[in-house]
């Protein structure tokens, strides 16, 4: 099985010689804070495309008709319309990309939680 590994760009925890596990985790947490601050003092605003996708996802997750019709399924949303739905991520994305003539990474996809697996 191929692992989708990417080059290290984030702080990774590791043990220094003689260091306890707890000390290593504390050092790592401090490194994360420095790293996070160095990424940007003020987080950049979301671009228009991400804002549009978020609005579509929010609509799908709050619309009662969508909740009822597509419970437990994946949905691709565009401008408050369900473009494709189903249970297989790749199939749903490719179908929507074909219908909208765009790249799969351009699409807003989310899950409609049917609360069938409560785990508590």
């Amino acid at each position: 099985m191929k692992t989708e590994e990417i080059p290290s760009t984030i702080p990774r925890p590791y043990l220094e010689p003689g260091e306890s596990h707890a000390e290593a985790i504390e050092r790592w947490r401090k490194e994360i804070q420095i790293w996070s601050n160095s990424r940007s003092q003020t987080p950049p605003p979301l671009d228009d495309e991400t804002v549009r996708k978020l609005a579509d996802i929010r609509w799908a997750q709050e619309d009662s008709e969508v909740q009822l019709r597509f419970a437990g399924q994946l949905v691709v949303v565009f401008e408050k319309h369900i473009i494709a739905h189903g249970y297989d991520t790749k199939t749903v994305l490719e179908k929507a990309a074909g219908l909208l003539n765009c790249d799969v990474d351009d699409l807003a996809i989310t899950w409609i939680d049917d609360f069938s697996d409560l785990r508590g």
Binding site: M1, T3, E4, E5, I6, S8, T9, I10, P11, R12, W28, R29, I32, Q33, W35, S36, N37, R39, S40, P43, P44, P45, L46, T50, V51, K53, L54, I57, Q61, G72, Q73, L74, Y87, D88, T89, K90, L93, D105, D106, I109, T110, W111, D113, D114, F115, S116, D117, L118, R119, G120
Partner: protein, 165 residues
């Protein structure tokens, strides 16, 4: 102390005895970077019973989420702990990635944070699937990024937020 509002989703049931039951989940909208370099926001269930986050196979593999591999076994003083890195019976890899949380009230993104997660190596077999499992945001996320989680049940529905340093 800045805060990041989380979303609540309710679901009403009724028992066979006619008793109403009100289920609620708290979600965080997490901004992830894909291997293509694009970003995608996905809802994660905030799970106070999960030590680590989980990104199911159908999410990380099929959406092409970029992450850094940190291992595929957990060891402790007794040796390999074979079940500790399983999720729903599936062997997982362990790794981390950069994320941001999107505020449910304002739509603004948080500063960059580290998400440490289990990445199942396979999909759940269709025969065992109740529904598509949702990604989980485990308690490690709070400690790693020095966040405070507040869940308030005093109102008509749960309200949740992260407070950042």
């Amino acid at each position: 102390m800045p805060s990041i509002a989380l979303r609540t989703q309710p679901h009403s049931f009724i028992t066979d005895q006619g008793i109403p039951a009100f289920a609620q989940r708290i979600y965080a909208d997490v901004l992830l970077t894909l291997q293509s370099g694009r970003t995608r926001s996905l809802p994660f269930v905030v799970d106070t019973g999960a030590p680590f986050s989980v990104i199911p196979w159908h999410v990380w593999h099929e959406l092409g989420v970029g992450w850094e591999f940190w291992g595929r076994e957990f060891h402790d003083e007794s040796g390999v702990v074979p079940n500790a890195l399983k999720w729903d019976g599936i062997d997982c890899d362990f790794g981390g990635l950069e994320v941001a949380i999107i505020d449910a009230r304002t739509g603004n993104r948080s500063e960059s944070q580290i998400l440490v997660a289990k990445f199942p190596r396979f999909d759940i077999p269709k025969s065992h699937r109740v529904s598509r499992p949702l990604p989980l945001l485990g308690m490690d996320f709070l400690h790693t990024n020095a966040l405070r989680l507040i869940i308030d049940g005093r109102g008509s529905a749960l309200v949740g937020e992260f407070e950042t340093p």
